[in-house]
């Protein structure tokens, strides 16, 4: 019975089916917002207002011919998409989604998720490396260079709320603003870290303005130049799920989560604000509130990412390294100090 439950968790909710479905929904939100900001309509014909278009794209790619370059390492070439998909999908399992009490949550799962979120970048690098093509190699080296630029600010930004909450457990960080009545003001004091997290998440997703590894005007498709058919479809799905996991992680640690209590967590200690803006309730009301919170908060993060994408042009690889180390990292450190100051004064 218990193993059946775990299998359901892994395969259905919050596992594979839910993640695939919800991440395509987020991609639709992203494409729609991006299109509307450019005065276009975006996807229109597949499903209501084109809602099923991301799924249709992936299904179409799955049916396409799959070509492996003659010089490429066949096995490694085929393994990289699976590895990156597995990594993001596993990371998604640790996110506290409504009413599961995060079935495999433990003290320190934030570190695990951050670690798992690094694997896609590495597998992307290796995918480019094993393709043995000039464009792929160029893209692959850019992936790694960019990784060293954004990863440290990203970690610093995500760890700030963890220090504030005094826990490495995502669900505990998520409910922290709601545990004491009138405690919600810890959300605004993390604003700098939130901004840094959004910027670095965009870099992690390799989207404009940080789409340097796959800058199509320079290096065709970057590390994915040689990928086609099913393998490219898996990479596409991986990118969608990465966007969901990244957005949900940011929403959990900065915006108060969406209704999943940590193991042994007490619902009674959560104030009214937390019940409404966190959805930490049982029953049908809790389900509705939790799901609404999940959709609204992740969509809000995706909206910010799309705005960033629409407002900016691509920057150069040296510019992102300079920008990350000159601005993002110091900002995160300043935020860290602010949080430490609050902790030292005993305000939190």
């Amino acid at each position: 019975m218990n193993s059946l439950k775990v299998a359901l968790y892994i395969l259905v909710f919050p596992g594979f089916l839910f993640q695939s479905g919800f991440s395509t929904f987020l991609e639709w939100v992203d494409r729609k917002v991006y299109a509307r900001m450019q005065n276009r309509r975006g996807p229109m014909y597949t499903g209501w207002a084109g809602m099923l278009q991301p799924i249709a794209d992936i299904v179409k790619l799955l049916s396409k011919e799959d070509i492996v370059p003659a010089a490429a390492d066949r096995r490694a070439f085929a393994f990289m998409p699976i590895l990156s998909l597995a990594a993001v999908f596993t990371a998604g399992l640790y996110l506290p989604v409504w009413h599961l009490r995060s079935f495999n949550s433990f003290e320190g799962d934030l570190i695990v998720v951050l670690y798992l979120l690094t694997i896609p970048s590495f597998s992307l690098f290796l995918a480019g490396w094993f393709s043995v093509s000039p464009y792929s190699l160029l893209g692959a080296t850019r992936v790694l260079t960019q990784l060293f630029a954004y990863e440290v600010p990203f970690f610093l930004a995500i760890l700030t709320p963890a220090v504030l909450a005094g826990s490495w457990q995502i669900s505990k960080i998520a409910i922290f603003p709601w545990t004491v009545a009138g405690h919600w003001w810890v959300i605004p004091i993390e604003a700098i870290a939130f901004v840094v997290a959004i910027l670095t998440l965009q870099a992690k997703l390799e989207r404009v303005p940080f789409d340097i590894p796959e800058a199509e005007t320079e290096v065709v498709g970057g590390p994915l130049t040689e990928y086609s058919g099913k393998k490219l479809a898996i990479f596409r799905l991986q990118k969608d799920i990465l966007m969901y996991v990244g957005a949900a992680l940011v929403a959990c640690v900065f915006l108060g989560g969406f209704g999943a209590l940590p193991q042994g967590g007490d619902q009674a200690s959560i104030g009214v604000l937390g019940l409404i803006f966190g959805g930490y309730l049982g029953g049908v009301t809790g389900l509705l509130l939790g799901v609404t919170n999940l959709v609204v908060k992740t969509a809000l993060v995706v909206f910010l990412l799309s705005t960033l994408r629409a407002a900016c042009a691509r920057i150069r690889i040296d510019q992102i390294v300079r920008f990350s180390w000159r601005y993002l990292a110091p900002w995160s450190v300043v935020q860290f100090l602010i949080v430490l100051l609050f902790k030292a004064k005993g305000a939190v």
Partner: protein, 132 residues
Amino acid sequence: MPKAGVLVPELFRNLKSRPVTRFYPFEKATVPEGFRGTPRFTSAKCIGCKVCMRDCPSDAIHIEVETLPPTEAPVEGQPAPKPRKKITMVLYLDRCVHCERCAEVCPKDAIALDTEFELAAFSRDALRLVQE
């Protein structure tokens, strides 16, 4: 980055405004004023001068003037009735460049361009318009 985010107000304005994309094949597209569509020929106005045929830059117009016997019988003491003319315009749409030259040079305004623009066809014969 002194100007980071200058586009953002514009983006949010766009969010609220109507999209410029139209549902063209599903909704009839409106054409702008003065749109040059297909040349349409009014045989009754034509005098058969063939200026359009001569001026057409892509040689897309062919005017055929056929003289028919008069319908009325000739009457004594009256001038002979004029022979009727049957004028046909053959328009080769595969060559027409929609320049409106024919309509401009026509002294009797027998040619005017309409707003029809969905002119694709599967065979060349379908693009040969015979207008009487």
